[in-house]
């Protein structure tokens, strides 16, 4: 039925919004929907051409109705496709802002999906969660963000959006992170140790999941 595949994409997009990671790109559905659009457009051309330009809607309501439905379906499919890609693009942007490597996310996504009863994941199909176009987008957006951030090096735009309360915080090390340099000398972050450090120095590491903030 017309529009059914488009609806599937919207459902995928809705699901993506609630997830922390980016599910695999639905290449097949996207392709099928674009094919549907092409076919419908073909039909529209055939119908209008068969009238040789003197088409009178009131004289032939059936054809007029067919044209209208075709048009509406094409537009709807376009909206579905746009919505699907937009949600994914926003997710990618979000990952860029959080300083997460898109590739890392994909890895994490695959590990996470093993537990799920996702049939396609079990079959091992999602070799890559991003489509090549999205990959390119992620890379370029990252570059652009870096350029914009370059104007505000003193502020660190990707820093925490929580209002800072204390200059120093207690953190626990969750994963070995090696040695970091602070104004007060070097600290070796080894797993399970606990430190009292300046928030600004370790913010990145908290975001990346190496450290946990203790309140």
């Amino acid at each position: 039925m017309y529009g059914e595949l488009g609806n599937k994409l919207v459902i995928h997009a809705k699901r993506t919004q609630a997830l922390n990671l980016l599910p695999a790109y639905q290449t097949d559905i996207v392709r099928a929907v674009t094919r549907e659009v092409r076919d419908l457009n073909q039909d529209i051309h055939e119908i209008t051409n068969s009238y040789q330009g003197d088409f009178n809607p009131s004289a032939d309501p059936a054809a007029a109705c067919a044209l209208l439905v075709h048009h509406l379906c094409v537009r709807r499919n376009k909206r579905c496709l746009l919505a699907y890609h937009r949600v994914r693009a926003e997710k990618i942007e979000h990952m860029c802002w959080n300083g997460m490597d898109a590739m890392e996310q994909v890895q994490a996504g695959r590990v996470g999906m093993e537990g799920e009863e996702d049939a396609s994941a079990a079959a091992g199909t999602p070799a890559h969660a991003l489509s090549p176009e999205e990959d390119e987008y992620a890379r370029q957006y990252g570059d652009m963000l870096a350029a914009y951030k370059g104007h505000w090096t003193d502020i660190d735009l990707t820093g925490s959006l929580e209002p800072p309360k204390d200059l120093f915080i207690d953190v626990r090390v969750l994963k070995d992170a090696g040695e970091i340099q602070t104004e007060y000398g070097a600290i070796t972050l080894s797993k399970n140790s606990q430190f009292f450090v300046r928030q600004g120095d370790v913010e990145r590491l908290i975001k990346q999941g190496f450290l946990q903030k203790l309140s």
């Binding site: 890609h85 003193d154 660190d156 204390d166």
Partner: protein, 217 residues
């Protein structure tokens, strides 16, 4: 003229001092967060604040070697303040970026809104839209018929361009006595007294927010 009026006048004529700039930043940060549309970029203000931030960072770097316990305590206070200012500026800029992303096409097509962005924000907006366009084109739009490739048409009764909802309600505090016209009830105006707090449609107080007569809370 009573003492309040005299104080008020003094308030308005004061030079932009450190603490005044801080209050201004706080005010514009709140305004930006509460207003549905993007506001004028506070170029001079951010510039002044950033100069001071840089000066403070240098000061901290100079003083870190100092072992005097008094200096150390002083440093901690300076650093805490610095973190707070940095947070304000960061949040201010991020709020703007999120608005820019949300209403990108609307801002692009409205020259007055475009003017209210800083130069770097304009570059960001343009290159971001170019990237998005490219993504859509490469992913599926290239296979579409020519007439359907536009991203901003309003055929079918649904506009594709997302616009800020200027009708939404905002809370505000009045800073100066102003009269606000309610547009569709002809001739009606309410007089707002300094210090009053209102909930009102954003559109009605749009100009007042821009002039700084009222501030959003």
């Amino acid at each position: 003229m009573d003492i309040d009026d005299i104080l008020r006048e003094l308030d308005e004529d004061a030079e932009p001092s450190n603490s005044k700039d801080y209050d201004e930043l706080l005010k514009w940060w709140l305004n930006e967060r509460a207003a549905p549309e993007i506001l004028e970029y506070q170029d001079g203000l951010v510039e002044r604040i950033m100069t001071r931030v840089r000066r403070q960072i240098e000061h901290i770097e100079d003083q870190t070697g100092n072992l005097d316990p008094k200096a150390n305590f002083h440093l901690i206070i300076v650093q805490t303040e610095l973190e707070r200012i940095k947070f304000l500026v960061r949040s201010y800029l991020r709020t703007r970026i999120s608005k820019i992303d949300k209403h990108a096409l609307h801002i692009l097509s409205t020259p007055s809104l475009r003017q209210s962005l800083s130069a770097t924000e304009q570059t960001y907006l343009k290159s971001h839209q170019a990237l998005l366009n490219e993504l859509y084109l490469a992913s599926f739009l290239k296979t579409f018929p020519e007439t359907l490739r536009r991203l901003d048409d309003s055929a079918g009764g649904i506009k594709m361009v997302e616009e800020p909802d200027l009708e939404s309600a905002v809370f505000l505090r009045v800073m100066k006595d102003v009269e606000v016209d309610i547009p569709w009830e002809a001739g009606e105006a309410i007089a707002m007294r300094r210090g009053d707090v209102y909930v009102i449609r954003y559109e009605a107080v749009r100009e007042a927010v821009k002039n700084g007569d009222v501030e959003l809370i």
